[in-house]
Symmetry: C2
């Protein structure tokens, strides 16, 4: 259906989109790190800047969605190529959502700063620090897997999300114990809980990006399937 | 580019997708109501059935995504028509997420039942009942607006989401007070908080469906814009 010329134009357009998506990915990674820094330092001006910078992420989402639509209309890709464009569109949505979750963290930092609350007795940041590092790495690696079409890495990342979820539950249990022992810290502890929840959701979105990568590379929709468990068994058996 | 014949086939295929999306919407509405009933009654068997029924929602998501891709490849829609297909794809994603949030509520109900916890002193359900009713109506109306291409209704729904968010924050403040007064109820109150959060997110997804509806009807991407505020001003001025 599409000649050599049209196909090479398709590839050219797709590469332009992919490089913009990776740019957006880098922006979103920084956005998350910046938000966590605000939560650590309680610097309200910095937090306001992080909240504001989400607008750029939103602008990129709308622009990239538009680029995907244009590509489809102009190049009329065949089923295989369309799959890639559609999955890339879903990666864009996940990146925008990661921006939203980071913004929530920055807003919590901002609110804490405005109430001039100090964390002398209880550091919410320390409670979530390890989780935030794990998820930061997971996000970076999911973008890497997307960039390199690395489906094996993507499989590992999807499995890793279960560790994140279990770490999140353990933070939650600790915070409940903490609140029960000293009700005066309830308000702090809840802030930490919302931050932990936002981090855990960023992990979910990184997992989604890994799933979309597998869809792009292998052409399988593995959402809601036991694909990863099966694949991991095979990797362990030295497939 | 597309002749009369091809265009009527496009319309036929699109209608098939739309009716399936509305079917999925009805399923998701019931799913949410069922999950809330479980949270009210604490019936663990019922809750397990609700968790299980999310599989059907997931299956529909994958199937409908596939139908959208096929439609694009087979009918090669022009820009206008493609916009509708893409936005319909986003509605499908939001419906699946609503299913996920309802499943979370059912899981909380299940966990409470398994711990044989009674709510003699504190009814989490009563705390969130009004919010759940508002969001249930909002979801129903957003599907209605999508079905009828009713962009005026969609504008109202987007504005209504702010009331939902404010109601959610007020529930959160009440729960914090409650926990501080009686730390023994912290664990219950946190369950109620997660349920309230899930309901609030269902409201967000209903708002997204309204935004996609406006995109389908008017061809404008109003995400991240002040479109609604402007439109409401005009409605008040009797546009």
């Amino acid at each position: 259906m599409t000649g050599e010329h049209s196909s090479s134009q398709y590839n050219h357009d797709l590469e332009a989109i992919r490089s913009q998506v990776l740019l957006m990915g880098g922006l979103v990674e920084n956005h998350f790190q910046d938000a966590m820094n605000c939560y650590r330092t309680g610097n309200s001006e910095h937090a306001a800047a992080v909240v504001k910078s989400d607008e750029e992420v939103n602008r990129l989402e709308v622009m990239l969605d538009d680029m995907c639509s244009h590509l489809i209309v102009k190049r009329q890709p065949a089923a295989n190529d369309l799959r890639t464009v559609m999955a890339t569109g879903k990666v864009i949505t996940d990146l925008e959502r990661i921006g939203d979750e980071s913004t929530k963290i920055a807003r919590i930092a901002q609110e804490m700063a405005s109430k001039n609350r100090t964390n002398a007795m209880f550091s919410g940041y320390e409670t979530v620090r390890v989780l935030a590092n794990s998820v930061g790495q997971m996000l970076h690696q999911s973008l890497d897997a997307f960039a390199r079409h690395d489906d094996a890495k993507a499989v590992q990342l999807i499995a890793f999300d279960e560790i994140i979820d279990s770490d999140f539950r353990s933070i939650m249990r600790n915070l409940i114990t903490f609140m029960m022992e000293d009700p005066a810290t309830i308000s702090f502890a809840l802030d930490a809980l919302w931050v932990a929840k936002a981090i855990e959701r960023i992990g979910d979105h990184a997992k989604n990006i890994a799933e979309h990568t597998i869809y792009i590379v292998e052409g399988r929709d593995i959402r809601h399937s036991d694909y990863v468990a099966t694949k991991q068994d095979k990797q362990h058996q030295g497939e």
